[in-house]
Symmetry: C2
Subunit: 370 residues, 2 copies
Amino acid sequence: MTGPRYTDLAQSLPALVPFVGPEAQERQLNQAFRARLGANESVFGPSPLAIAAMAKAAAQTWMYGDPENYDLRLALAAAEGVSPENIVIGEGIDGLLGYLARLLIGPGDSVVTSAGAYPTFNYHVSGFGGQIHAVPYSGDHEDPGALLAKALETNAKLIYLANPDNPMGSWQSRSTVEKMVRDIPEGCLLILDEAYSQFLAPEDVPAIDPNDPRVIRFRTFSKAYGMAGARVGYGIAAPELITAFNKVRNHFGMARISQAGALAALADQDYLAKIIAHVAQARTHIAEIAQTNALVALPSATNFVTIDCGHDGDFARAVLANLIAAGVFVRMPFVAPQDRCIRVSAGTNGDLDIFAKALPGALSKARADL
Amino acid sequence: MTGPRYTDLAQSLPALVPFVGPEAQERQLNQAFRARLGANESVFGPSPLAIAAMAKAAAQTWMYGDPENYDLRLALAAAEGVSPENIVIGEGIDGLLGYLARLLIGPGDSVVTSAGAYPTFNYHVSGFGGQIHAVPYSGDHEDPGALLAKALETNAKLIYLANPDNPMGSWQSRSTVEKMVRDIPEGCLLILDEAYSQFLAPEDVPAIDPNDPRVIRFRTFSKAYGMAGARVGYGIAAPELITAFNKVRNHFGMARISQAGALAALADQDYLAKIIAHVAQARTHIAEIAQTNALVALPSATNFVTIDCGHDGDFARAVLANLIAAGVFVRMPFVAPQDRCIRVSAGTNGDLDIFAKALPGALSKARADL
């Protein structure tokens, strides 16, 4: 009596979880975190109008969601100034990255990203047998020139660039990204992960022809809109690529409540503007806390601040472990030399007070172990 | 300036939607359906406790859901009398079928199902290049003996059996399924789709060792629990197979509100019992409407009734089109000879009154065109 016959590829994959969730850490610590500042969620929550729309939709959840996401696609197209044919909606950017990898990547296909960039992208690429070529960050920024050169060298099918970047919070100038698009090698698709784009100054957001077949931009309701748990991401790309998603996506995969919530959140741009202001204040607050502790906060165009702890990765990992033990959920980059930092999401004043109180002890304990 | 380079497999796939949703039909008709009885959703809705839990969770949707689905897995394991290591949770059975196909199926691999069975399963198998071998229904039942023989003949990696069956509403005796499990060919996995299992008499539900490596059972909150729009399905299988899902699944793919809703729904077994009774009444009501119109309602252990319209597929398709035009959303089997039927989901008395009023005209108009 033997088990199922897996594909060779599936057989070869590790059964690892790309991230451990904060709930798993809480179960391990046997206590709830006092401040949840590790996953770049928006502690400020969704728009009250979105909350109301979701609460109202709860009783309607006996119906499947519209598999075409018609209303939301239309609203997003209007908001983004593109056609609905330029929009695909999916179960978060994570889900869409998985579908895209499936459409393009087979065993041995080359993909280029930065060492230490979004691991879930790598998870999906490896999951389809792709070969990841990672180039180093340059001065805590992703390096468009190096990404392009590596793509040319490896005949890559995909380049991944997050702008603004996670985990460093850094960003590229508009002209840099626009030049990068012009220079994409033939047959290569640029994934521009813009999960944090609402935190960029509008004039810093690159202008890209939505019908350009060489680029797909991904955006999300998980960050500025405060709806990470709703799982609503979207891609903006040329209609041919958008249509291709229909070949592989889970058509009835979108939660109906999430569709309703995203639609209401999108309509409440006043609330979004308030959140962006709250996040800017929180970034300043985090930078002040860093400075008080003689640490350097890196500039950020996101809803988090990456703090240089001033030593190596082992030191930062010790600081992180001490913060976690003190009930403060934070995360950190995992590749040197960026792993000298910890990453702290924008929080309420209450959250940041908890962080401010925990940090000095976390640092002194780590220093004592140096 | 060329587009992305798709895999050969992706290039070969049709950009079809497996089902057209009722919302798309409503947009086409430019009117809302008066009765939504086509997707085997539970018009009775979720438990009030689940609705309350989801409404309460709306404000918490700024947090990602727990990627391990820990609480729900634990609760399901207790409810099913298995270990949490036997449970995988995903974005509906649809999502889980996709992951399972990805784990097992590569180009040319054989898969066995019934002609006219669940098309989304075929969509996922074809999407990974699998070769589908379909055997006919026997007397409006899926045919376990024929499925097993075909699996042996084609060296199939997967057999799909829905019990109770969609779209026919028929079911297998407990001993038939248990014998089928004993007879699964070496190296083949039986997918037992039990989306409708709560509508079976408990003594008719087959007993299967959850650690048997040859079977995975799929169940869902979409049908009896009335939460189709929440996208919560689960699989029960041996730990090795359950663990394999972690290699490919969208770890952060579950909506947080859905997790909360499913947990509350599962805890409200009194409500579930009431729904099962409501559905039984509705089935009787649908059968009476069929009889009034000189049609034969097939026996059903599901939340729908399949009605034999007494002629061929063209006739049933005409009846269906007339019902849709009259504002009644219903569907039908799509393979002969089962396509002589239409399929009507359990509705409220109000829904079924609308159906009862529309049916005679739909029939007479179809007869006039014979």
